[in-house]
Subunit: 588 residues, 2 copies
């Protein structure tokens, strides 16, 4: 239906601007687009006109008809459409097909009204089968995605079976736009990405850094509680390390380029790579001394900053970046321990996600792409065992999951939990990877109860994923209105006039000494304006203070979102906010 | 005197092994050395023989006589000493001196007994003026320090005016050796440096990571209290950033080599450098929005990991490394604010140093090397003002200081505090750098009260310096016996037999839930052996538990260093250790 809608769009455009050249128009997730080469520029202001024309054509309820044509016929049909001709030529040049055979080749075309398109279909039967349509946006797009080609105009639209569904989707888009972490990040001075620093690298401004500090503090506490030990490792390592780990064989495309040490000094051997993962460093710590079966399991965690090369085109705010800090851990254990360890990690992950308001999680079992086995290190039977074990763990816990074929890392399969946010969107977070390959590759051993050397099993896991992506997700999930324990500014004190400034300062000092993040709005603005600005800043508590409050050592408490809690004593308020923080209340 | 002792050493060596070839033998800090090319290998086992011969010669109390000789004469005197001849030839080839002038050139030689050396002096008058001597060690050393030349044998020794001073120094060396953080680091499983990772890069093992975590936690708390805000910035930045900051012009030698992005993708512009400093990133955050005079001072801190290239020969454990985490901060303020800010930082630095047991601090004012002005960025008058202001601040506070000429960074002078440790050694820590140059270079401005743009002043500062060096220093300062608040394991529970294991576990759980770092020694060893091992591990508290303790809910408390506190109730002990931690007591 959406593909048919894109034909309808092209039909309307050709009727309005007959000299337009057509590129392609597929259906995509939640909608469709069509790329046009307009003679004169078209803007979003033209959407009503296009939509009206589309409605007019749709009302005729014409049939979509399919036809097979020869290449010669196709070339004639599209003689005025250079992009279509290029596609026809390409289809005609399918490798391995002899020229003589081409005579028999038929191309599919679809026709509706006077509009004909080169298209494999399928389509709806007639115009009235297409549900309500909305054009959404307009963007530049290179012909065939290459910068070397001409920039075309891409018109995005969507269409749903019913008006209700369309409206819901448009509301969702509206809400998602309001929650876009890039917009909120700018408005609330949370972070920036800087041309001098480089694409995909996040500068965390003071306000968002507090959010991250609080998360990290909590994360460290929880990890100690769960029997983890912290380690710190460098951000660079020699080529030999990455060769041994397999990264230079299986992950090189994702790594930043080498730092050639001979450029510094001819006597320096090797090159450094900035780390794309933390595991090889944890392995080297393991290997720094003899380990006994009594030492296992070792649970080593690190907030490790890693750097991965991604094409600049796919980068997206804090959600898809080139530099990020993983909340990483490696559990090194015996074969008789790893099932229990995976189960413990699952429990820990559920607990942690819950504390950030993510109780709705979609579960995936990420396995190998069996048609691309050269992408993975290790033996077939080891992979089979690892995949089978993870599957059994999920099934025993009666967790329903989907299989993500090809989602495994090069060293092992994983269980992935994706958090579902306030808008029902899925975000990558927890991953628990079972690795029975790298330990052998690195020659990791422990001395067993039998006095012999055994190879341990390694579990790689992150619970939040990456701080950048996780906090970016939180911004969207909370629409910038962080719960009190995370809010950059937890309390804004608003004196009703300069006469109450002293009392405001006194309250501020008291809260500050209790480690509450507090600011006084001492501008000479009207109280209502100050409240409005604090609301805009998404500060959870506003304390309005005047002579009445000063006299009774109290505060008038307003909650973000225009709730008024009225007058309470300072101590009452302190107890209230402390409880919000201690309980990590999602709303105040 | 020490230089004369080195001649005495060479005299003795030549008498014992007349075919030895002599290189050079200077006085150094706390001693002297002489480099020899021995015909047959000599070892430290030969030291008594050499020392006896030196004593014998010294007893003759012969004079040191100085003589001027021509180059021709020198060549004759040293005809049998190829290294000396090479030096004579070199002295004869002084650039810009005409050959005819060389006739008049005289070289100094010193003679004592039959030993003659090419030497500018000065020396003591006679053998008896040399104090008590001790040969210390033996090491390989390339002739003229180049790997291309022959490896010679360097004999180190020292000599002091009195036997008492020599003995004190030898005791100091013994003590320093025992405290060597590399030895302790290995014994206590604190850290490692790994061939696969690279020289000068520290892997922090779990036990030392706890120490660092505690320090960082405390550091963050203190910084919030002192009005700082935290920021997080990436570890890499584009070449444009480092060009603008001046690092590529003034600090390139200290930077790791570039990561050329064209190796990833021809369409990628520029190259990345891993950061040697954090300042340019903080500057970019400042520049991400308009700043007003009301926003200043901004105090932004970051535990920022930086990487600097150092020759591998100068690296030393955790104390001189290639990768380190600075406890960095940048204060961006108005001209009328920076004197007050420097004073506040000084107060903060004294407070923080005190909490780590460093009350004895040597103060330095680091200024430019005026004979190398091309090493510095910025105008003469700005430098003069900055140097003068820091000097005035110190003088107003009546702090006595030394000037460290050439110690300034390329962008400004600094006040440096060096901590004096338990052995009286000086360690680099706090540095407060006044920078009136980079803000202009980066085009940093704020809108003043007058509505016009002004350039702010920037203060770069670290209080602890680098986590690696600071914690390495702490290991040596405490000889591995960290105070309770930092100790990796704070309590070791020692059941007197397996029958008391349940009670031991119960006590452990109770302490663990109070966030005390606790271990039970459940090995089937004798109690005394367990105590000895806990002492070796430098655990501050050992709780010995048996049936008597179980019955009365109490513990028998032993303190590291064989102090016995006797029986106390569990609650009493808990209160005691909590107070140790809260007060950061240096000894328990």
């Amino acid at each position: 239906m959406r593909h048919s809608a894109s034909h309808l769009l092209a039909t309307a455009v050709m009727e309005l601007w007959p000299n337009t050249k057509l590129a392609i128009g597929p259906a995509i997730e939640n909608g469709f687009y069509y790329d046009f080469d307009f003679l004169n520029p078209v803007s979003e202001a033209d959407f009503p006109k296009i939509e009206a024309k589309m409605a007019e054509i749709k009302a005729k309820n014409l049939d979509f008809t399919k036809k097979d044509v020869s290449i010669e016929e196709a070339k004639k049909l599209f003689s005025n459409q250079p992009y279509k001709l290029e596609l026809v030529d390409e289809l005609a040049k399918i490798e391995g097909v002899k020229l003589s055979d081409l005579q028999g080749v038929k191309l599919n075309i679809y026709k509706m009204e006077n509009f004909i398109d080169l298209c494999k279909g399928p389509h709806v039967e007639k115009g009235s089968d297409i549900g309500p349509i909305k054009l959404l946006s307009l963007a530049g797009a290179y012909w065939r995605g290459s910068e070397k080609n001409k920039m075309l105009t891409r018109v995005y639209g969507t269409c749903f079976p019913t008006q209700k569904e369309l409206d819901d989707y448009l509301n969702f888009l509206e809400e998602a736009k309001k929650r876009d972490h890039r917009t909120i990040g700018k408005e609330l001075d949370l972070f920036s990405i800087d041309d001098y620093v480089g694409p995909g690298l996040i500068l965390w401004h003071p306000k968002l850094s507090i959010v991250r500090e609080e998360i990290e503090l909590y994360w460290r506490k929880q990890h100690r509680k769960h029997g983890y030990q912290y380690v710190y490792t460098p951000h660079v390592g020699l080529d030999n390390l990455w060769k041994t780990s397999g990264h230079l064989d299986f992950f090189k495309e994702g790594m930043f380029p080498l730092m050639a040490m001979e450029l510094k000094n001819k006597e320096e051997r090797g090159s450094y790579y900035i780390k794309p993962m933390n595991c090889p460093f944890h392995v080297r710590i393991f290997k720094s001394r003899t380990r006994s079966y009594r030492d296992l399991p070792l649970r080593w965690c690190e907030l490790g900053s890693v750097y991965r090369y991604e094409e600049s085109g796919v980068l997206h705010g804090m959600l898809r970046v080139r530099g990020f800090t993983q909340d990483d851990a490696h559990i090194i254990c015996r074969e008789d321990q790893f099932v229990e360890e995976v189960n413990q990690i699952l429990d820990f992950a559920l607990e942690l996600n819950h504390d950030f308001g993510f109780d709705n999680l979609n579960v995936y079992l990420s396995t190998r792409d069996r048609e691309n086995l050269s992408k993975y290190v290790g033996e077939e039977k080891v992979w089979q065992l690892a995949e089978k074990t993870l599957k059994e763990i999920l099934e025993k816990r009666k967790i329903s999951y989907k299989e993500d074929i090809g989602g495994a890392k090069f060293y092992g399969p994983s269980i992935d939990l994706k958090a579902v946010d306030a808008l029902g969107r899925e975000w990558q977070g927890t991953t628990i990877q079972l690795d029975m390959n790298l330990p052998a590759k690195f020659g990791m051993v422990y001395v067993g109860e039998d006095g012999k050397e055994h190879v341990p099993v390694m579990i790689h896991r992150t619970l939040l994923g990456a701080m950048e992506r996780f906090v970016g997700t939180l911004i969207e999930h909370y629409a910038g209105a962080f719960p009190v324990w995370l809010a950059p500014v937890q309390v804004k004190i608003i004196p009703i006039s300069d006469k109450s400034l002293d009392y405001a300062q006194k309250i501020k000092e008291k809260l500050f000494s209790e480690e509450i993040r507090v600011e006084v709005d001492d501008r000479s603005e009207r109280m209502q304006a100050k409240i409005r600005d604090a609301e805009k800043e998404k500060v959870p508590y506003m304390l309005v203070v005047g002579p009445k409050e000063a006299e009774s050592e109290s505060v008038s408490v307003r909650v973000r979102g225009e709730k008024d809690l009225g007058l309470m004593s300072f101590d009452q308020f302190l107890a209230l906010i402390k409880e919000d923080i201690a309980k990590k209340r999602q709303v105040c």
